[in-house]
């Protein structure tokens, strides 16, 4: 079952540490030697990235399961 994921925009989010508004920036996602790029809300100063729960429990979980080994 593919869950629909809401697009999370950077607007309205601020980095707690740097107090900088988050921006939609490319993020390299690497899992067990396999990587790909995706745009996510990210702090332009420290690079801290906000991963919305829908994404973590949805598509990211699907990727993890795909790469999971016995």
């Amino acid at each position: 079952m593919k869950a629909e994921v809401r697009e999370i925009k950077a607007e309205g989010w601020v980095c707690g540490k740097c107090q900088e508004p988050l921006r939609q920036l490319p993020v390299e996602i690497t899992y067990m030697g396999s990587s790909f790029q995706v745009e996510l809300p990210r702090c332009p100063v420290c690079g801290f990235t906000f991963i919305p729960p829908d994404l973590a429990y949805g598509k990211m979980r699907e990727v993890e399961k795909l790469l999971e080994d016995k």
Partner: protein, 423 residues
């Protein structure tokens, strides 16, 4: 060596492990699961009480359902001793009842339709369709002859949703097929793969391998399989045993797991690296190895977990009963992810945002590239180990109402008499 003493016949010994990785380092012990549904009681002792009896220690990840004893080959080698020309057909409704029974007793398993040669069963596609209502995947164990001859059948199987074809494929030369199957079959096998590709079915190549017969062709077979991706999703090697019909002497032709790994390493110019192989989390540690790769367009492969070697899967600390049960779930899931055909249009009909598109594209690409190399060392009367039988997760449905570990079900004595198999 496995050494045993029979009070009537004396001492026996048989090689069960030879070469690298060392026997001592290949560890993944498991605490037996409890609470399994059983169909018999433990009275006479393993393996006489199969199955399953309360001494069994692992769930099934795969259950074989044999549709017929008929076969369109008469292979010199056949663990099922198939090849009869006559069979009393079992009605499809009976098989559907058996599927419901299997679902109830064994849970979410991969259902393997087997035989004999299951493509000779007249209502195969409807059974595949029914099976998929109950199980996450239905696998067809076939010699491929009918698939090569009858494209309509292949199309019907694809339309029914068949998960993948487990294609008997022993080597890359007709000499190999003549020795093991009694016929030159290479072109027929390739035609079967071509038909599956055309219909969108995925295929796993399943060679039966024996020393001095076809073990020199494993590397070339591996490369051939890679070149036939993504239709061909992997190679699943089965070292030959003496169970059933077999004209070759067991000890002479026997290959152990480390020997298979070493030969693959040598024959692929180092492409297959033995140190990247791990013992299983589902079945007993001595029963199999597995490797998963990403198959790149340039013909190279990358281990699925990256280049770094992991040591966390080889351990002397036994998995808990819960982890052993979890190993079965993972095995079913990984098998589905590895062998099922990648969806041709994964985004069809689902409006996706930019973020999810990137993930979906990655998932779709990874599904295309996954390629697995697995090997399962079945046991025969010379190598049978009760601990391995009790830890078995590949079960056979034995009519009317039993689930037996595959190697126990197919066990035959030195003079060919079956312990459990009938017909």
């Amino acid at each position: 060596m496995l050494c045993r003493v029979c009070p009537d016949h004396g001492a026996f010994q048989e090689t069960i492990w030879r070469g690298k990785p060392d026997f001592e380092t290949w560890r993944r012990p498991k605490t037996p699961v409890t609470g399994l549904k059983t169909q018999t009681s433990a009275e006479r002792g393993c393996p006489n009480d199969c199955g399953r009896c309360p001494d069994h220690g692992q769930h099934a990840c795969t259950v074989l359902l044999e549709l017929t004893t008929l076969c369109n080959l008469r292979c010199p080698v056949c663990f099922a001793n198939s090849g009869s020309l006559e069979d009393t057909p079992v009605p499809a409704d009976t098989f559907i009842e058996r599927m419901h029974w299997i679902r109830e007793e064994a849970g979410e398993v991969v259902l393997q339709l087997s035989g004999g040669e299951p493509t000779l069963y007249p209502e195969l596609a409807p059974l595949v369709k029914e099976g998929l209502k109950l199980f996450p995947a239905v696998q067809l164990n076939t010699n491929g002859i009918r698939l090569a001859e009858d494209f309509q059948m292949v199309q019907e199987l694809a339309e029914a949703g068949l998960s993948w074809v487990f294609l008997q494929f022993d080597g890359v030369s007709d000499q190999t097929f003549e020795k093991i199957r009694g016929r030159a079959l290479f072109d027929i096998k390739m035609k079967a793969i071509e038909a599956c590709a055309k219909a969108g079915l995925s295929v796993v190549l399943v060679p039966t391998v024996a020393a001095g017969i076809n073990d020199h062709e494993m590397g070339e077979l591996f490369r051939l399989a890679l070149s036939l991706g993504p239709t061909v999703r992997g190679v699943h090697i089965q070292p030959m045993t003496t169970s059933g019909r077999n004209p070759f002497p067991g000890s002479a032709g026997r290959l152990t797991l480390p020997e298979i790994l070493t030969k693959l390493h040598e024959q692929t110019g180092g492409l297959v690296r033995p140190e990247a192989a791990f013992p299983p989390s589902c079945e007993h540690e001595r029963c199999s190895f597995h490797l998963r790769y990403r198959r790149k367009d340039d013909g190279t492969i990358v281990p699925m977990g990256g280049e770094s070697e992991c040591c966390c899967k080889t351990t002397d600390v036994p998995l808990s009963a819960e982890e052993t049960a979890e190993g079965r779930r993972r095995s079913v899931e990984v098998t589905l992810n590895s062998w099922q055909a990648p969806a041709p249009k994964p985004l069809l009909g689902i409006p996706m945002s930019g973020q999810t598109n990137a993930f979906d594209e990655f998932i779709a690409k990874a599904r295309q590239e996954v390629f697995s190399l697995t090997c399962m060392a079945f046991q025969d009367v010379w190598t049978a180990d009760l601990a391995r039988l009790r830890g078995c997760c590949v079960h056979v449905f034995s009519p009317p109402d039993k689930l037996m570990p595959f190697c126990a079900f197919n066990l035959t004595s030195a003079d060919g008499r079956p312990l459990h198999r009938r017909g």
